[in-house]
Symmetry: D2
Subunit: 137 residues, 4 copies
Amino acid sequence: MSPANKFVAETTFYVRYAETDAMGVIHHASYIVYFEEGRSSYARQRGSDYAKFEQSGHYLAVSEVNARYGKSASYGQQITVRCWIDEMKSRGLTFAYEIVAAQTQEVLVTGYSKHICITHDGQVARLPDEWRAWANT
Amino acid sequence: MSPANKFVAETTFYVRYAETDAMGVIHHASYIVYFEEGRSSYARQRGSDYAKFEQSGHYLAVSEVNARYGKSASYGQQITVRCWIDEMKSRGLTFAYEIVAAQTQEVLVTGYSKHICITHDGQVARLPDEWRAWANT
Amino acid sequence: MSPANKFVAETTFYVRYAETDAMGVIHHASYIVYFEEGRSSYARQRGSDYAKFEQSGHYLAVSEVNARYGKSASYGQQITVRCWIDEMKSRGLTFAYEIVAAQTQEVLVTGYSKHICITHDGQVARLPDEWRAWANT
Amino acid sequence: MSPANKFVAETTFYVRYAETDAMGVIHHASYIVYFEEGRSSYARQRGSDYAKFEQSGHYLAVSEVNARYGKSASYGQQITVRCWIDEMKSRGLTFAYEIVAAQTQEVLVTGYSKHICITHDGQVARLPDEWRAWANT
């Protein structure tokens, strides 16, 4: 699922008890937060940092998010979030995600999120060159 | 946006401070929880209750969720979640959502979620007749 | 439990499915958010608004929070959060809380939170007179 | 702060963007979840696992939680949660916590949580001997 020809950031962690629900499994909205954690890790692994990106006066607003749920995860499990850039534009980008059970590598959830680069006063802006270069490697 | 010929459940509430993020607005994952609150309210307004549905031995598992973000909401605002059934099948259904600013009626977020009816041991099952009848009115 | 001689703000709402955990009941950290919702409602019922308070250049930082858990709440239930000011100082205050099952009035959780008034640059500041007057009525 | 003569479990991770609030820092309720993550890690480092504990038919219900907030944490930071057993009884125990900034070791938050061992049908029960032995080392 995750592409062979792109930089794919992996991050592995234990799911949290607070993220379970009364069905006994991880609540579906938690995966949206795991996606975000995946792209945070992507930027860090690229040598950048979303915290510094914000300090430079930009935000990466979310314009769309999509998640498809297959298998569920339970408390006690470790999951691996894989994140890569699916599409890069001058003023926005799309991240794609694949979340698997760390032990079995079974796919749990896949999805994507679309983002627009904006300034602190809400104007659409160009992505920094450093970020745009990520699409090439 | 919300259809004229279908039952649309509305629920209005204040967004919570804990749901804001460092951008100063409601975090995008919070809307996935608002969607869920919208369909909880839908079932209650239909005279049913998802709590009773679960007690009858069924779960409504989420198979996909999608959200498109337009305007953002801030702490102090009331929002209205509109929820209706977009598609009904024998073993699953799709809810659609429109979240607006309660005061201005500006659309903030739209989306949908797909669900499969399963039993406690994970078998796909038929939706109760009571729920299936909702598609007709 | 809630005092007869003080202004007590009540707010009643359904607990959310996302707030449940694998024990089948509302996760204990959710009540800390309900406390916050209780003091948000307190300010609104007093004719003020924490959103305006922040816009005036102040924050109410949390210095301590305490919760004691008795009975648990389940999805499908409505709860009532009661909130009042337990102690008022020139630069801070203590809110106290009692959360009950709306239908039975059984006490679920009690607690308090201590707050310090700070400016946006982190300096301790005096509470607005309007807020301080709340202690007298 | 953390005791020299007790087993102290440490776990270090990045705080998440979703855990920030409109003050620009980590929301105070998030630390209650970090405490829980600290005791999850404690059990794992002890060679046990809270997931297995639950599968054996027990729960560790939270009867009280307390947190004192000093410095705040921001997105982009790593924190270290230290967790140890402060008091062990036959049917319950108290965990204590210290959360520090991973880089500077500045103390951010301290706290404790009290727990009662219960069975799935809500009866108070004795803690497993394995868990009780943790108090001695």
